[in-house]
Symmetry: C2
Subunit: 407 residues, 2 copies
């Protein structure tokens, strides 16, 4: 039984341009940390991610949801978590503040993630193990599929998981091999050309075969110069992704993306505003076959449904510390599987939680292995920091979702 | 110069089922009230609307923005308000919590509205007068048109306003005649059949020629019975609108809307989730020529742009206490004018602010007169409550935007 709930506002200043992009010049990586403690002293930890200012608002929203869990047994909660999620996310007064987006939905993410963490700890297994051991029905019981009835009913979701039982044991080999990572930290926006060059060489030497550069400069020439510089330093075999962090309007995006196609980017990420579904469609058509990646700022399953239906996205970057936690992450992953689009999460959690989720997506859902973003800046603050070796995430073995922070 | 900023959390319990709908069973109408006081003691009042729980979060977000206005002169602020809006709404850390949606954007609405109110009070005129007297350039200076470059550039906006100078003097007759209202309070969700019938008769006797009924019951038969009851009681000449408050999923919406078409609704409002642009498009095609109305929960200009581009909405219900205040309301109204779609605001402000804005939309933008929602439940709390006579809003004459509350 959950005896105690607390929510903590944790902020970690970054240094020397780390974390900077075209819009976020000086972020303070921050977590809304929900802790749910049961009668045995087990504590489930859940995160939502922000950039500092306003993290206290998310904490208050999380507290509102968390207090409603007091006195409940985690196994009972998780047996039908989808219903609880639906109830909490539609609480009739709080719902007005979204619905299903912004501060309140970030708060719900933190609480949802704490539930999944506590569940795995209660069972004494890492989250990926818990999830991959669940039956299709038990998985779908943790999901709220409302407003997806036109694309993914409960029956569809169960059938999709059943279908992917085939090949599952082969796919479990990923546990031993580890899930590949990619390096986001070679080219933060504020880094100098020389820093970027050195970082590329270091990343390639460390075994990464995919790297990401921040673009979206007011001066497109800077973007092009830096993109070429990364391509040259990395060589032709390395995948290079470009991330504009919403900095372009649609006409700019079309113009600059055309110029950036010269370096053969594996994807172009967040070219414009995350709400502009039709704009992304126009852009995707204009720059095909170059693919778009997005989802970092997309708050819920309904908008992801629209993106998938409009067929404008090559990679979905749903983030379990932005949408309504692990539950809605799984929902979006199922939608993506239906539409044949890979999930390559944005890692507001620094990959701690998502290293579990990409294993589950691959093993149980049959999603193909791409790679998982790797950002090392907060690793010293985690109790069990993600381990990456030769560019590959080593599969976590500790019980839970690896989100405990040294508080 | 703005010397003092304060933000107040005001909540007004409702009684006997007033305000209830399919999702919001027991709302507490609440305002985040921003007050900006200048060196002459003039106070600009701005509102954002919520349903109670979490209004304190919006207050904190509003405070964050409001404190950045201290020491600024209101005339200088409004001379280029579009730039300030853009800067505030993209504050690099706070932006993560949206962007441009949810709690932070509601907070910005409250602050923006306080600026427009103070501006009108400084000039000693009602807001509608201030706005209709502005040059096209001065109006567009108050707007942030970013992410609309594919549909509405600054030049487009100015040209649209210039074009509508023609006929303007004739359209100012609306000032004398007053803007028609419609009655939302005949059919709140929790009202009994008998209450609804009595309310319809009272509303028609009071001069209203348009009425709204809440639908979205779990039992579609209840919706159909009540809709027929309203049609019968109101007669054929009265317009009847049906509002589902997002209660249906897409397959349900298609099925129930087909059944409700029998009463010839003037529109069907918020049939499903406000983020589901493509879902609305499918529904609109399925139930044409019946028109959809939506916007009450749409947070920003970019999503409205997508709704307009997809050509699925017959009436846009942008609410200046949901989007980023008067500024973004005007932006969305310009977009609607371009697309030929009427603006019929949702009135989280109880019509206090919107009675000014619909006059401006008609006079300066050439929007056709439809009618403005009328909800009387909070009128006793306003210093200058909207006056409605024979179903028509009497044009407000007091300086400002009529949003001062008896605090």
């Amino acid at each position: 039984m959950i005896k105690h709930c607390s929510v903590i506002d944790k902020r970690f200043p970054l240094h020397d341009g780390a974390g900077s992009d075209a819009i976020h010049k000086n972020p303070v990586y921050s977590y809304t940390v929900t802790q749910l403690t049961d009668e045995n002293g087990l504590t489930g930890t859940g995160l939502a991610f922000t950039l500092g200012e306003g993290n206290d608002l998310v904490c208050r929203a999380a507290s509102f949801y968390a207090q409603q869990l007091k006195g409940k047994d985690i196994e009972e909660v998780m047996h039908d978590f989808g219903s609880l999620f639906r109830e909490l996310s539609n609480e009739q007064q709080f719902r007005w503040l979204g619905p299903h987006k912004g501060v309140v939905h970030l708060g719900l993410a933190s609480v949802t993630n704490a539930c999944f963490d506590l569940w795995a700890k209660r069972r004494g297994v890492p989250l990926w193990r818990l999830l991959t051991d669940l039956s299709p029905e038990a998985i779908v019981n943790t999901l709220d599929l409302s407003y997806l009835e036109d694309e993914l009913t409960r029956e569809d979701a169960i059938a999709l998981l059943r279908l992917n039982k085939e090949g599952m044991s082969e796919r479990t080999r990923i546990i031993e091999k580890g899930y590949p990572g990619y390096d986001t930290s070679i080219g933060w926006f504020n880094y100098s050309d020389q820093q970027v060059q050195e970082n590329v060489k270091r990343a390639v030497a460390a075994g990464f075969s995919a790297l990401k550069l921040k673009v979206g400069s007011p001066d497109a020439e800077r973007d092009i110069r830096r993109a070429n510089l990364v391509r040259e330093a990395a060589g032709d075999a390395v995948k290079v992704m470009l991330d504009a962090n919403q900095q372009w309007n649609l006409p700019q995006a079309i113009a600059v993306c055309h110029k950036l196609q010269g370096i053969r980017p594996y994807w172009i990420e967040e070219p414009t505003h995350p709400d502009d579904i039709l704009g992304h469609k126009i852009l995707a058509n204009a720059i095909a076959p170059t693919k778009l990646a997005l989802g970092e700022h997309v708050p819920n399953r309904i908008i992801f449904k629209n993106y998938l239906q409009s067929n404008c996205v090559g990679f979905i970057q749903v983030d379990a510390v932005r949408v309504g936690g692990v539950s809605e992450f799984i929902t979006v992953s199922l939608l993506c599987r239906k539409f044949g689009i890979p999930v390559v999460p944005h890692v507001g959690d620094m990959g701690q939680l998502h290293q579990h989720l990409v294993l589950f997506n691959h093993i149980s859902m049959g999603h193909r292995v791409v790679f998982l973003e790797h950002i090392p800046h907060l690793s010293s603050y985690f109790v069990h920091p993600a381990k990456i070796r030769d560019g590959v995430y080593l599969t976590p073995q500790e019980p839970g979702s690896s989100c405990d922070l040294k508080l």
